[in-house]
Symmetry: C2
Subunit: 435 residues, 2 copies
Amino acid sequence: MSDPLRIALAGLGTVGTGVIELLETNRSTIERRAGRALQIVAVNARDRTRDRGVDLSPFAWVDDMQAMAARADVDVVLELVGGSDGPALTLARAALDEGKAFVTANKAMIAHHGLSLAEQAALRGVPLKFEAAVAGGIPVVKGLREGAAANRIERIYGILNGTCNYILSEMERTGADFDAMLAEAQAKGFAEADPTFDIEGVDAAHKLAILSAIGFGARVDFANVDATGIGEVRAADITQAGTLGYVVRLVGIASIDESDGTPALLQRVRPCLVARGHPLAAVTGPTNAVVAEGNFSGRLLFQGAGAGAGPTASAVVADLIDIARGDLGAPFSVPVEELETFPPADPGNRIGRDYIRFTVTDRPGVLAEITAAMRDAEVSIESLIQRGRDHEGGEVLVAMVTHEGPERCVTKALELLDGSPSLTAPPLVMPILKD
Amino acid sequence: MSDPLRIALAGLGTVGTGVIELLETNRSTIERRAGRALQIVAVNARDRTRDRGVDLSPFAWVDDMQAMAARADVDVVLELVGGSDGPALTLARAALDEGKAFVTANKAMIAHHGLSLAEQAALRGVPLKFEAAVAGGIPVVKGLREGAAANRIERIYGILNGTCNYILSEMERTGADFDAMLAEAQAKGFAEADPTFDIEGVDAAHKLAILSAIGFGARVDFANVDATGIGEVRAADITQAGTLGYVVRLVGIASIDESDGTPALLQRVRPCLVARGHPLAAVTGPTNAVVAEGNFSGRLLFQGAGAGAGPTASAVVADLIDIARGDLGAPFSVPVEELETFPPADPGNRIGRDYIRFTVTDRPGVLAEITAAMRDAEVSIESLIQRGRDHEGGEVLVAMVTHEGPERCVTKALELLDGSPSLTAPPLVMPILKD
């Protein structure tokens, strides 16, 4: 058996301690699969005195996290600190600079700086790995990078944020409104005290940017992920969707749009209507699920726990085992210099169906005004539901589902209605996920 | 860029021609991901004259399949001929003997001879790969071997046969009986003219034996997979299951049983009752799905097309790309000499719930006889349904669901009833899948 793979671990939160526990609990299994031992040699965290429920005495304590990169007794730096920039990024650059392998669960950092880190890793010929950055314990980075490697990927989409999925599926189950379910999610530990990144779709957008880079062999382009969160989804929307045979899920979708002649990349995170028979409709609670559609494989679904100490540690250690086994594959599936640059796609090109919900004043002629705007923008309405007064006041909900058509027509219709005194709030548009 | 990976392809059926089409269609994607070209240099099939819709002129035609192994211009032998023994096995042995990498989609051969082939591959230090042998296009061999590598796997189960799943889900949808749906499956190309291997669970057993070897780091033990097919499942069983909140699926399950002190391996294929909320219940048609439960990852689900030229070719070429990238990992996740030998588990140890259906004569006292046997064997009945006369004659169906208990009690109860003139056919027992 070869020498152990020596690891410096920065960050001893739940995931960091989870990794220590996993390496201890599954030691013999891992050694046999990796062909060598995985050995933590040094650890760092902000507070040395805190009791984390794991024995840190076998490891060297390093006060200055950045000093880990230069240690001669370290082969891999494992970063579980978080934050897109700051100390995590400094450590990543220093570690790669020193020719160390680098493993992270940091989706924000990879979404923002993954490309330049991959360039640095390629220059030094060392691995850069981030399985845990996407969809927690689900081996979907490997699934896309290697399992589906023979395919031209046509579309990638999935439920990438467990907090939002918990809230939406609980809203569906209980009929409660968003605010109540967010509070419940926070009480149960499924949402953070400041849930902004989750509920506004930023976290899902980080993961989507990483997935689309791998799936399409594209340069990571987080800046062009267009994200809308779930804060505007009301209990009434979920009820209406249910009546029509759909559930509401926050879905990240990436696809290549060739309708303007040159391939362009559409990346968006949106609350969507998902038909009840679709596998994503069955995904409830904090579970994540990713679908990749390959031109030969067809639809592949990967599902599992999207967060949590155990699942995230499982993904982190899978990366460490790969490194121990000598896997030097390109972080984004093809060598970084061969990644393609796709311009962002015009979302108006999208051909699909939409759910549109208006909140309007309860007076005559409002419905006529809305349907006239739809007609003028050439949006064809498949079904229209006018719902009685909301308990909140004189407000009435008007929900509709469009026939398949270009998204730009829907946008145009909403522009025509913009500023209308009949509308009491901005309309909510939710795309209907294409099967 | 390195030299191309040179492939000899034996077998030009739908999968073989699918591989040729895939390598042509996705050539540039594959080259970038593999870091080199994948090039078929030689092909072989029984009939040279048949038009397969692909251009074979770039490849050397080899009349004697076995001659492929010795060709100096070949790095990998790809076997898509099929059959557990015979020419496929001879070719595998010859190829490994010559120090060639060997890739196959042949589940029967790997289930029967995978262990000795892995030994041969280890001796020569060459890769042996068979992603396509399990669950078609789903990268579940890689998912288990690498993606879940950090975990002690506690249970593996899944829908491993598309033919059976098509028949069962169509029986559910239409209310028709097994024979009618088998005929329909054959007409639609989802079942073969001789469907024995599929409907008797042998095909699923092959795949399960491979999965459990990988998941548990166990020596492949196909002989101890206990398989029951779906031929005895009646429309009435599916209706009863539905009433109770379940669907019927043919499930392969493998787990480690430690209840007798030493770890033993339980491997079985059974029609099972699956609760409607479980992800496997949503798997309909010829789709496959595999669940692996890791001690840190929790439940991982891999789902996709279980067969077909495109998906199978996708899995085959993923193996070829891995080989091109220099992946020399152990075929069954740990070096073959370190694979453990587990004795077969006593299925009587299983603690669970069961659905039991009797077909009985329509006369007084039959129900009392059955329930007395249950009482004497200490089987606790959760619910019991007596269904009116079947249209087939004076036969009556009695279905029940047991409380959780040892399977040996159910077996004992059936022994007590064995030979009873009240029973017109052997009872059908379907385990209820534990969540």
